[in-house]
C-alpha cells in the first residue's frame, strides 16, 4: 500500500487527482429569473405559521393545531384541483 505523507507530499496527490478527475462537471443551472423573489414571500424559517380555520373535503373545519402531529406538520399550498 502506498502511503502518501501529508503536507509536502500533497502535490503528488493533487496531480493524481487531476488525472482521475476527467469526469465532466455539470453546470449548476440557476433558476430562471422571476419577477417575484420567491424566497421573500410568506412566513420565513424561524417564524410561526399563521393559524387557519378551513373546511376540508368532508366539510370538517380544520385548524393548524388539528393538523400538527407530535413532530409538526407539512402544509402544502397548491394552485388548484380544478384547472
Amino acid at each position: 500500500m502506498m502511503h502518501l505523507l501529508r503536507g509536502p507530499a500533497l502535490g503528488v496527490c493533487l496531480m493524481a487527482w487531476t488525472a482521475i478527475d476527467g469526469h465532466a462537471r455539470a453546470p449548476q443551472t440557476p433558476a430562471p429569473a422571476a419577477a417575484v423573489d420567491l424566497d421573500s414571500v410568506g412566513p420565513q424559517v424561524g417564524h410561526a405559521l399563521p393559524d387557519f380555520d378551513l373546511a376540508d373535503q368532508r366539510g370538517v373545519r380544520r385548524s393548524l393545531k388539528s393538523i400538527l402531529g407530535p413532530s409538526g406538520a407539512v402544509i402544502v399550498f397548491f394552485r388548484s384541483a380544478d384547472w
Binding site: 500500500m1 505523507l5 443551472t29 414571500v41 410568506g42 424561524g46 407530535p70 413532530s71 407539512v74
Partner: protein, 266 residues
C-alpha cells in the same frame, strides 16, 4: 398526488399533512374521490388564508377568473407551528417531492439503495423517487460511512482533497445545488492545524430536476427511464497517513412519466 403516497411515512415520522387551495370543498371532494386522497385538502374560498400568508400569486392577471391562487409552496413546521423548512418553486410545473424534503430534513425514507464498498469507506446511494415527470424536483442521496479512525475532508478545505460528488451533465436533467452537512473540526497535531473533516457517517444530497422546458419535452416524452451518472471523489486519511485519492462511479436510474394533467371533465 405524490403526497398521498407519502402520507403514511409522514405520519410515521410524527408529521401531520394538509394541502390548501382556493377550490371549493365540492371540487376537493371530487378530486379526493378520484385520487383516493385521505389526508385533509383544505378549502380557502376567496383566498383569505392565502392572502394572510402573503403568498397570493401577484404575477397572475387580476381580471382572470383564475386569479387568487397562491405561489405553490410547502412549509414544514415543528410541533409549535414554527417554520423549519420551506420550498417555493420558480415555475408552476416544478414540484419538489416530499421524499426529497424529508431526506433534506434528515429523515429516513424507504427507497431501493445501492451499497458500494470503497477503500476506507462505504457508500449507500439512492434516489428519493423512483418515478419523475418533467418539473419533478427530487434528490440523489449519498450516505457516506468512513471506516473506523478514518476521516475525509469537507468541501472548500484548502491543502487537502475534499469530498466531491460530480454529476454528469445531460439533456433533460437540471442540476441544482448539492448539500453537505456541517463538518467536524479535526486537529492534526504534527502540523498543529485545524481541518474541517467528516469521520462519522454523513449525507450528501444533490438536488436534481427533470427539465420542464419545451427544449427537453420531446426527449422526456420518448424516455421510459433516465440514468444519471456521476462520480464520488475523496481522499481518506487516518491519524498517521493519507491514502491515495479515490474515485467511485455512481449511477441512478429512475422511471419517467408524463406531466400530471388529470382534472375534472367539463
Amino acid at each position: 398526488m405524490e403526497l398521498q403516497g407519502r402520507f403514511e411515512e409522514l405520519r410515521n415520522s410524527g408529521l401531520g399533512l394538509a394541502a390548501i387551495s382556493y377550490d371549493s370543498p365540492e371540487v376537493l371532494a371530487d378530486f379526493s374521490a378520484r385520487r383516493g386522497i385521505t389526508f385533509p385538502l383544505l378549502s380557502d374560498p376567496g383566498s383569505a388564508t392565502i392572502k394572510r400568508f402573503g403568498i397570493l400569486n401577484t404575477t397572475a392577471d387580476p381580471a382572470s377568473d383564475r386569479y387568487g391562487y397562491p405561489f405553490p409552496g410547502t412549509f414544514v413546521v415543528d410541533r409549535q407551528g414554527v417554520v423549519t423548512s420551506r420550498v417555493f418553486e420558480p415555475t408552476y410545473q416544478e414540484r419538489r417531492t416530499m421524499s426529497s424534503i424529508l431526506v433534506t430534513l434528515g429523515h429516513r425514507i424507504p427507497a431501493p439503495a445501492t451499497k458500494i464498498r470503497g477503500a476506507h469507506l462505504t457508500l449507500t446511494s439512492y434516489a428519493t423517487d423512483q418515478m419523475a415527470a418533467p418539473g419533478t424536483h427530487f434528490s440523489l442521496v449519498l450516505d457516506v460511512a468512513p471506516a473506523p479512525h478514518v476521516h475525509v475532508y469537507a468541501p472548500n478545505t484548502s491543502g487537502y482533497i475534499p469530498v466531491a460528488m460530480s454529476i454528469a451533465a445531460q439533456p433533460g436533467v437540471v442540476l441544482r445545488s448539492a448539500a453537505f452537512p456541517t463538518p467536524e473540526d479535526y486537529f492534526f497535531k504534527p502540523l498543529a492545524e485545524h481541518v474541517p473533516v467528516y469521520s462519522h457517517p454523513f449525507r450528501i444530497v444533490q438536488d436534481v430536476m427533470l427539465d420542464p422546458s419545451s427544449a427537453s419535452s420531446a426527449l422526456l416524452k420518448a424516455a421510459k427511464t433516465m440514468t444519471i451518472t456521476g462520480v464520488f471523489n475523496y481522499q481518506a486519511c487516518d491519524d498517521a497517513v493519507c491514502f491515495p485519492p479515490a474515485s467511485i462511479p455512481l449511477s441512478w436510474t429512475i422511471g419517467v412519466r408524463p406531466l400530471d394533467t388529470d382534472r375534472p371533465k367539463r
